[in-house]
């Protein structure tokens, strides 16, 4: 029985701030930062956008791209680390606003940057067990970095929704298999009620990102008896441009394979949306028969690897919703003061 992607939809707010404009405020060297992070600008939400509104826009784009009846969706799971409510699901808002309610299940997922791919895996299981017809898995964030913290240069806003199903004639891409690698690693966290996350500095690289991404990726390649050369494209979680480039090299994937999905340079890190956005950007230009290897990472920590093959159906579906490239085009640039207002960093009593 095959399971896979029936549709996908992405959303990116139209505002951007350049690394230069953040660096100016903190007296940092923008050129060194840009070279080190491989990020030039990041997406900024509007004053009235949050993870829920972004999830809704992505979910509606996914429904529109395929034209499916939203009533067929039996589960909506939204992964985010910036759910607007501490208690009250984002997923019920999304389900209502996409017309999927009321005969369905919903829950919010949390696993740092890989909550969205964890939701994809849950939907794959529910669909393949026959419990639901279609499942919607979303990764959406308005990522927060404390003012002046290194994360502020990359923490961005965006979201991606995937509709997962198992009717072969409906799939734009088959997910052949998935493999996860998870340990208890304190590389990044945010305590209840705290506005900004904390991170373990250099601890985030080797024992966090690289260990979990490479183990998940190698595990899946071994399980499928596949090699990097068997794939046309690869996507790795993109907290910046450097990490996925290095992970690709460590695993034997080429620069060309990761290029179409490496959107972080113009988008920033959309956290739960990051790897899923890379997959969406790749699906936007993949041809039927192309194979995509993807590995998401979430601090805390874990990696989810996926092996995906694009079907003929992609060509009839692709143009029915905005492509990631279109969402990244023609942004409106804001300065630091406007950015601070948009992000609610300025408190109005």
């Amino acid at each position: 029985m095959s399971v896979g992607i029936v549709s996908y939809g992405a959303y990116v707010p139209k505002y951007r701030i350049k690394v230069e404009d953040i660096a100016r405020v903190w007296g940092d060297d923008a050129e060194i930062l840009k070279a080190g992070l491989m990020v030039n600008e990041k997406a900024v939400p509007d004053v009235d956008e949050d993870a829920a509104t972004i999830a809704v826009e992505a979910a509606r784009a996914a429904v529109n791209r395929s034209g499916i009846d939203a009533q067929r969706i039996g589960a909506v799971y939204t992964g985010s680390e910036s759910h607007p409510y501490a208690v009250k699901p984002t997923s019920t808002i999304v389900a209502e606003a996409t017309g999927a309610t009321p005969v369905m299940t919903a829950a919010d997922f949390e696993f740092a940057c890989k909550a969205g791919t964890a939701a994809v895996q849950a939907c794959m299981g529910l669909v393949n067990s026959g419990m639901i017809d279609l499942g919607m898995a979303i990764g959406a964030d308005v990522a927060q970095g404390a003012p002046g913290d290194a994360l502020e240069y990359t923490a961005a806003a965006g979201g991606v929704a995937y509709i997962i199903g198992n009717k072969e004639s409906e799939l734009v891409a088959v997910i052949e298999d998935t493999y996860s690698f998870t340990t208890d690693t304190p590389d990044f966290w945010r305590r209840e009620g705290m506005p900004y996350p904390e991170h373990g500095g250099r601890f985030t690289g080797e024992p966090g990102y690289f260990k979990h991404v490479t183990n998940a990726a190698k595990g899946l390649l071994n399980k499928l008896d596949a090699k990097p050369e068997d794939y046309d494209y690869a996507v790795f979680h993109q907290p910046n441009g450097k990490f996925p480039s290095r992970a690709a090299k460590m695993l034997g994937f080429s620069k060309e394979q990761i290029a179409p999905g490496l959107v972080v340079t113009r988008l920033g890190n959309t956290y739960s949306g990051s790897c899923m956005m890379g997959i969406a950007a790749t699906l936007d230009q993949a041809k039927p028969g192309d194979r995509i290897f993807a590995t998401a990472f979430g601090s805390g920590a874990g990696g989810d690897a996926f092996s995906i093959t694009v079907t003929d159906k992609i060509d009839e579906m692709r143009d029915n919703a905005p492509k990631v490239e279109e969402l990244l085009a023609d942004p409106i640039y804001v300065d630091y003061a406007t950015y601070a207002k948009h992000k609610g960093k300025i408190k109005i009593a």
Binding site: D46, V47, D48, E49, D50, A52, T53, V56, E57, R60, P84, Y85, I93, E96, A97, G99, E326, D330, I332, K341, G344, I346, I348
Partner: protein, 137 residues
Amino acid sequence: MIIMSVPRFWRKQIARYNLVGTQCKKCGEKFYPPRNMCPKCRRDGEIEEYKFSGKGEVVTYTVIHTAAEGFEGQTPYVLGIIKLEEGPSLTSQIICDAENVKIGMKVKPVFRKLGQDGERGMIYYGTKFVPESTDKC
């Protein structure tokens, strides 16, 4: 566009989220916000649910500089009357710089935060409008 009680907002939620109104099957007149009685056909009318496309145009607008409670931090913003392509008009925020809004401008719906009840209360979501063209606004 005023902050209202939680139950009152919730009852209107579907209409706000998805621009669901009603139409009279007899004369074809469409209503937003939804009406339970067609003023033309009266008792002969037959009312059913109708989902609007959300496409429309700006009839008139004003720029709000002093926001009501719950809208602080959003000013200045544009408040306008949108005439939906199916007929009815409604008042909504238009997400666009004041100097770029034009009467007759084509708009499409987006899902946004309408406001919130302070730091502890509910967050209200619903439909606002953006220019249909992807030009900078």
